[in-house]
Symmetry: C2
Subunit: 237 residues, 2 copies
């Protein structure tokens, strides 16, 4: 957050989110912003391109940068957002139950995918998420012990991401995820309040650090009525 262009990005995005800058209005031109922020045009353009990527503005050649209607986006699970961040936004009655926390030998496929040696171990974490007294999400995590030496139930009950990023100072770089709908397993029926629902939404995701090492595999299983995914996408180049 030290760089100029990120500071400009943050300031303008805040103004858009707060309503200070109204949808359909135009931002000052790039030349004007150059004066306002006392910087070069390329630096302004870096900030504006970020805003465009994230759906805050649309740049139109010859006209300017239009502010987009951002409030419809509420609850973006797109991008990488942890459960704790989501629940804070929702301001809901939310609770996490740690069902299991253990050190195990990785399965053959895990060992291969995570490029582990024969002696490496992995953490297995199983957690249930409760909204308004109902168990609606089952999270199963596999983490490499190399990178995360110690793990306690307390950490898991709070936020794994927060611990990894703030305490261990590891930076999460990118993730791949896949969403499918399947029949519930015995484990799902046991640990979730399925209430007769005959399907669960499964989000499998691989999380990588900044240096491209895989460090976490997550399977997040949702009761279908409590699942929602919102996405903003720009057309391919």
């Amino acid at each position: 957050m030290k760089s100029k262009y990120l500071a400009i990005y943050n300031e303008i995005s805040k103004q858009i989110k707060s309503g200070e800058l109204l949808p359909d209005s135009l931002l000052p031109s790039e030349n004007e912003l150059t004066d306002i922020y006392d910087t070069s045009r390329e630096t302004i353009r870096k900030a504006l391109n970020l805003l465009s990527q994230d759906g805050y503005i649309q740049k139109i050649r010859g006209k300017g940068s239009v502010v987009l209607n951002v409030n419809k986006f509420d609850f973006p699970v797109s991008g990488l957002v942890s459960f704790k961040e989501i629940s804070q936004k929702l301001d809901n009655q939310v609770r996490t139950i740690v069902n299991e926390l253990s050190l195990e030998k990785p399965s053959q496929s895990m060992k291969k995918q995570m490029q582990l040696s024969s002696t490496d171990l992995v953490w297995k974490v199983v957690r249930t998420r409760e909204f308004d007294g109902q168990k609606v999400i089952l999270d199963k995590d596999i983490l490499v012990q190399n990178l995360i030496p110690d793990l306690t139930k307390e950490i898991c009950a709070d936020s794994l991401y927060e611990y990894i990023e703030n305490k261990l100072n590891l930076t999460i770089g990118f993730s791949k995820k896949e969403i499918v709908v399947t029949e519930p397993t015995e484990e799902d029926r046991e640990l979730l309040d399925l209430e007769g629902f005959s399907n669960v939404v499964v989000i499998k995701s691989y999380a990588f650090l900044d240096d491209a090492t895989l460090f976490q595999f997550t399977e997040s299983r949702h009761r279908p009525d409590k699942f929602r995914f919102v996405d903003f996408a720009r057309r391919n180049h």
Copy 2:
């Protein structure tokens, strides 16, 4: 596609997709690429940043740009991809049935969201998608007639996107979409081969042109066993 940085992006991404550049290997450094492509470093960096955004490479400070394992990404519905593009990739036995094509007065909420005047009309298109003889997707589209004056069943049976982009020369800029799971409606049961499935996956999406005008609303209803969504995401700034 005239710009240097896009040409460089295309060349390198092609090399990665073809396997000419192997996963976990390093790209030439930015300075070397500057010589190879006879351009400035900022132009190289624009190309590399695109590759990074799209999940082809990971840039690591002090080391270089690592090629990522891209073949696991198969079938990215993320980003904006049309049904025709997907089916070509899948190389499947695929058929589109046009159930309905009509010009209608927009509903009140549509009129508001699309900023239409009282006399404007919208196209309503209902299509069923058949994979291997089974009707598994129901697509319901609303398009503003202002922008798309003529529409025929033939066009709808082929590809709306192709017609819009190639024939009408409109550029699709970005989209917002939402994914939820619900119970099937009467229409779903009628037009799809649900085979006892008690849920459908609903993808609602708004498509906007390059100048930020909303021109299409789509509701795509999938049989759950045939639904799959793959996403690549970078951590928020």
